[in-house]
Structures are given as structure tokens and as C-alpha cells.
Amino acid sequence: MTKQPFTGRLHTPLLIALAVILVVVIPLLNSLGIISNFTLGNWGKYLCYGILAISIDLLWGYTGLLCLGQALFFTLGGYMMGMHLMRMIGGDGVPTFLSMVGRTEWPSFFLPFSSFPFALLMMVVVPGMLAYVFGYLAFRSRIKGVYFSILTQALTYGAALLFFRNELLMGGNNGFTDFRTLLGFSLREDSTKRWLYIATALLLVLVVWGCKWLTHSRFGLIQRAIRDSENRVLFSGYATANFKLFIFVISAVIASLAGALFVPQVGIINPSEMDTSKSLEAVVWVALGGRGTIVGPVIGAISVNALKSWASVGATADFWPLMLGGAFVLVVLFMPKGMVGLPAQIQGYITRVSRNKSAAESPSSEPTPEATKP
């Protein structure tokens, strides 16, 4: 019996190689001019989306909670970062979104955001607390399945409506933009952009590693047990609501950190990021990449967004939603394990075919074991 008592392997060497490529090799190639700044900027965004996708999969693939509100936590993290960046613009007076509603001074809640550590703390606390309160109420009332999904979507929609209002003093529908510096570095500098990319890649590696560890612990076993048979878990003495709450808060914080890194890279944050379609799109990345795996959602997020960048310009632009929807339907129908499950699926198909062939050639041979793939 090995030390690791639970199923699944960590594939450590492969992951380390990928981590080195993402964190070291790509930025190095960029500084040498082999990878363009534009491409690097795109990859920075893709990786943020990859982290967001993992946070969805932690809930959906591992715990059976389809959350349609992860874009809310992503955006909240972005807003926390945005508030800090707005305070860092400097200059006289207040930004337009404040003067527009007759304010000549910063509202008091903006002031502490001058401190980066405070902003960082808020990126964890604000989405974490929101997830805690919402999750506490939802899980205590045993809201599950589609009702949970609808509620998370409603919460996101409500938040978007709130953020669209200028009276909230959070920039209204224009949001925050025209950022200048982060930690004293100009956001227009290539090197700053490169460091932002490196920070994103590092966060992704940390999140992947952390989630691998989490899902291989006994907690991971309980998580998946809740997904498959919550009643049994309850009748095995586990307070399932607490476990769901814990993972809901963790995943909200992960999404928030991804959003916080996203904003300085794209240079803007506004309530349209909370749009219902954003959360749904992220769920599609997870389904395409492979639900119930850690790497799958990242692959899904990167490939869909790379494809989107390519397809949404020119003649194919109008067809992009159709292409995405079509891909989703195909994957749901034919690839239950998504892209990462495809090799195993093909292998299974090949063995089945060759087995049938050999069985047909020598009917007296052993009976083929049942191929029961769900």
C-alpha cells in the first residue's frame, strides 16, 4: 500500500514542465522579442480565465454545484484592484465618475484603497464574505441542483444592476479605466506587462497545485461523495453544508484573484463583466476542457478564448456564438470527459474495436469483458 491512500495521480513531472514553460520560458521569449507583446497580453488574459475556470470546476466538477455566478466574484476582485488603481492615478480633483454625480471629494470607502496590501486583503475578504453569507443561507436551506444555479445567476444579475448605477460611486456603466501605475510601475511599460503576466502564470500554477492537493485529500473524497450521493454523506455524519460552504468560499476567492490580475492587463473593469453570458461562457470552457479535472478547465479556457480571438474578427464574427454553442452540444453528447478525456476515450474505442475484431476471428476465445463506459 502506498502512502497516497486515494485514487488518482499527480502527474508531477509534466505539470512542473508546463509550469516552467508558462512562468519562465514564455516571458523570456517575450523579452527576447520572439513572442510579441500582443500575444503575451492575450495569454495573460487566457490564464486569468483559466484560473476562473478552475474555480468553477471546483464547485461543478468536484462538488456538483453548478455556480452560474463565478463572473461576479471575478468582477469583484477586478473592482477591488480597480479601486486601488484609480487611487493611484493621482492628479488634482476626482475622476469623472465622481464629479459627474456632483462629488468633489473621494468617498470615504475609497481612501484605504490607496494601500495595496489593503486592496489585496479586500480582494479576499469582499468576495469571500459575500460567498460565505450567500452560501450559508443557500446550503443551510438545502438549496441544491438547478435552484442553486438559478440563485447564483440571480445574485450576479442583481449585482450587475447595482454596479450599473452611478449612485453606487463605483463608476457606473463605464466602470474604472485609464489606469496609470501599479506599485509604482507604469502599466504602459512592456516590462510591467510582462511581470503582470508572470504573476498570473504563478497564480495559476499555485492554484493548480493547491487544487490538486485539495482534491487528493480526504476533503476531496468528501467533495466528490457529496456530488455523487449527498444523502449518504449526511447519513455518514458529515455536515455537508459546511463542506460546501468551505469550497464555495475558496472558489470565490480564487475567481476574485483571477479578476484582480485581469483588470490591470486589460486596463478596464465595468459591470458588463458580470453579464450572465460571461458566467455561462466560463461554464462552457469547463465542459469543453474536461469537468472534474484540474487541468481540463484551463485547457478549455485557453483554447476557447484563443479560438474566439481568431474567429471573432472578420467574416466568421457573426458565427462565433454558433460555433461555441455547437461545440458545447457536441462535447456534451459525445465527449463526457471533455478534451482531456479524449485520449482515453479514443484508446477505449480502439481496444473495443480490436477486441471485437479478435472475438469475431476466433469466436471460441474468451468472452470479452463488458465494455461499460458511462
Binding site: M1, P5, F6, T7, L214, S217, R218, F219, L221, I222, R224, A225, D228, S229, N231, R232, V233, L234, F235, S236, G237, Y238, A239, T240, N242, F243, F246
Partner: protein, 262 residues
């Protein structure tokens, strides 16, 4: 070996009094009184709709009664005030009618999740399976005859094996009271017999309540112990299986309509 329960002498492990539960006007449990001593192996029989499973739902906190009391361990705990996992933590384990195991987990993992011990999040993150627990798991695997299937996914097991695994999960929990709902359902005669042997070997170490339809099986495990007959949510009569089977009312409502009677 067979201890006749003397209700007045010692406190009850589980006592239900005046329980009532109706679903949309249908009285599933009707003024039910039920007393269980520590160490008993009690069989509960009754026709379909007699309220057997509902009774287990009430004990384990799945449903709340409309009226009545349900107390545990010499009335130290009021089960009606506790939820499912709190009741479990008192040492009440349940095997469901249809085998309910974690299909995507291996047999060993199923048992690990059921092991007695902390149920907290912190423990689930950092707690390790101790050598003593590994030994216990090996022991249970031998008891439920699944040693060779230890690393197979539970979903791949045969129906009877799943039933045993679920009983094994109750053993891992070190439950004081095992509530076993139709353990022989869907089993072959041989599997049924082995399940009976398994339950008999556990009698005495645990208090067991078995709900069953199969009278051959009931005869095998009751062996002169008390059998409770439920009818329309009410205890019709109690006593050794021979006495129960001879009872006019029982023949009328239950045995008379069943061809299974031995």
C-alpha cells in the same frame, strides 16, 4: 446467548412513544410505540406500506413526526431535536433499502469516509489514515468478504456486494445501532444466507434492527429473538417468530396474503 428483554429492569437504548406521521392525509406512522434494548437483534416485518422505512426515516432524522417522542440511550438524547449528522454521531448508522454507496470511489475509500473519528473540515484536509485504521479497514474487508475488491470502484460491484459494502460502512463507523433496511433485497438465496450469517456474527457487539420481507431470512436471523410486526404504521404484535406467525391478526393482515410464508 439469547437474552430476553425485560423492559422494566433496564433502560432502553431507543424508545419511541406515540409517534404519528402522515403524508397528505395518509397515516404512514400511526401511534407507534417501539422499545429497543442494547444488544438486541430485532427484526421488523410488515406488508408494503406498513411504515417500516418511514420509521427508519424518523429515527435517522430524515423526516420529522407530527407527534410523539423518540429518545436515545436511556432518554439522554431527544432524537427529534437533532439533524441527520448529529444523530449519526450518536452512533446510529443506517443502511438504505437500495444500496447507497459512493459509486465513483473505491471500496477502500468508501470505508475510509465511514471510519469513526472527526467529521470536521480541518481533519478532512490534514488528517491521515492511521495504521490502526488501515488494519481496521482490512478487518472489515475480510468480514464483508470484499478483500479482493478493495481497490475496485464501488459502482463496479455486484448488487449483493454493494449491500455488504454498505453494511461494512456501518461497521467502520462503529455504530451502536445498525438500522438495516431490507439487506436481502435483490440477492440470490446464497447471498441472502451469507448476509444473515454476517448479521448474526455482529449481534451482541452492536444493536441491530433489520427490516425484511423474506420470511426464510427472518427465521434465519431471528432465532427466537423478538420480531415486531408493523401494520398501517402501528405495532400489530411482537414476539418470537413462531408466535408471531401463529397470531391470527398477523395471518390476516400480512402472512395470509404472502405466499412466502415458510
Amino acid at each position: 446467548m439469547i437474552v430476553e428483554s425485560s423492559h422494566l429492569a433496564k433502560p432502553f437504548l431507543l424508545a419511541a412513544e406515540g409517534l404519528n406521521k402522515s403524508f397528505d392525509g395518509f397515516k404512514a406512522i400511526n401511534d407507534l410505540n417501539f422499545y429497543l434494548d442494547e444488544g438486541e437483534l430485532r427484526t421488523v416485518i410488515g406488508p408494503n406500506g406498513a411504515g417500516k422505512t418511514t420509521f427508519l426515516d424518523l429515527i435517522t432524522g430524515r423526516t420529522q413526526p407530527d407527534q410523539g417522542t423518540l429518545v436515545w440511550d436511556d432518554a439522554k438524547h431527544d432524537l427529534l431535536k437533532l439533524n441527520e449528522y448529529e444523530i449519526y454521531r450518536l452512533g446510529i448508522g443506517r443502511k438504505f433499502q437500495t444500496p447507497t454507496v459512493y459509486n465513483d470511489h473505491t471500496v477502500t475509500e468508501n470505508l475510509i469516509l465511514s471510519l469513526a473519528g472527526s467529521r470536521g473540515i480541518w481533519h478532512s484536509l490534514f488528517g491521515k489514515v492511521t495504521p490502526a485504521q488501515r488494519e481496521r479497514i482490512a478487518e472489515i474487508l475480510a468480514t464483508i468478504k470484499l478483500t479482493n475488491q478493495a481497490y475496485r470502484k464501488a459502482g463496479e460491484l455486484a448488487h449483493g456486494q454493494k449491500q455488504w459494502l454498505e453494511i461494512g460502512m456501518l461497521l467502520a463507523q462503529e455504530a451502536r445501532l445498525l438500522l438495516v433496511d431490507e439487506p436481502a433485497a435483490g440477492m440470490t438465496d446464497e447471498e441472502t444466507y451469507r448476509t444473515g450469517e454476517l448479521l448474526l456474527s455482529l449481534a451482541g457487539k452492536h444493536t441491530i434492527v433489520v427490516i425484511e420481507h423474506d420470511m426464510t431470512f427472518v427465521r434465519q436471523i431471528s432465532q427466537g429473538r423478538k420480531v415486531t410486526v408493523l401494520h398501517q404504521g402501528h405495532v400489530l404484535c411482537e414476539g418470537p417468530v413462531d408466535q408471531v406467525q401463529a397470531d391470527e391478526r398477523v395471518i390476516e393482515v400480512y402472512l395470509g396474503r404472502k405466499s412466502k410464508v415458510a
